[in-house]
Symmetry: C2
Subunit: 129 residues, 2 copies
Amino acid sequence: MKLAFDKLGGILPAVIQDARSGEILMIGFMNAEAFAATRATGDVTFFSRSRNKLWRKGESSGHTLRVREIRVDCDDDALLVRVDPKGPGVCHEGYRSCFFRRIEPDGSAAIVAERAFDPNAVYGKGSAQ
Amino acid sequence: MKLAFDKLGGILPAVIQDARSGEILMIGFMNAEAFAATRATGDVTFFSRSRNKLWRKGESSGHTLRVREIRVDCDDDALLVRVDPKGPGVCHEGYRSCFFRRIEPDGSAAIVAERAFDPNAVYGKGSAQ
């Protein structure tokens, strides 16, 4: 099979789901190299758009994401990666999931999750997540 | 709150999750107008990149997606929409989820779900999904 990296300038969205709980942890992007690295190592590896390089999730925090299964959608332009998270959470703000805020009827964003860890203790300033 | 539509040329990825089962149904993209329409109508509305216009999911099939909750991620550039699906599935190939194929160790894609409906009976040729 061939993934449609061309639709978005060389990257694809990859949604990361906790294989056990079904919780959505985050969305990242993969280019062909990140996808190959994810498959070869079994650790979720993204392409960082801000740093313009491969980013093995958890490379500094130790909170890596072990791949259990990769699914591809019907038009080959999106991935669903089901993982075992190695660590209490994926979010640099200290939450289990990056989706810890709900958009309210008035347009504000309300925090609807509990902090899972202290982000200051885990992430050094300016380090990768 | 302000969504970061600028990071990807005016669109954001939106992952659609069945609010009851937790299953990931699809990933689509929203621009500001699609996001506003989704919030105003309560029906998931995407921006179709191929047709370059708003696309209310299910507008021809009747398989609309009622919004239960919208979450936003930590850097305001991705959405998680938890829905009640009105219909047996979202995929134009007749599956409940567009992620009905698993990528195997040899790189092939194996179908790992059962068809939920007959796509020929639901989708007219060339119609929107």
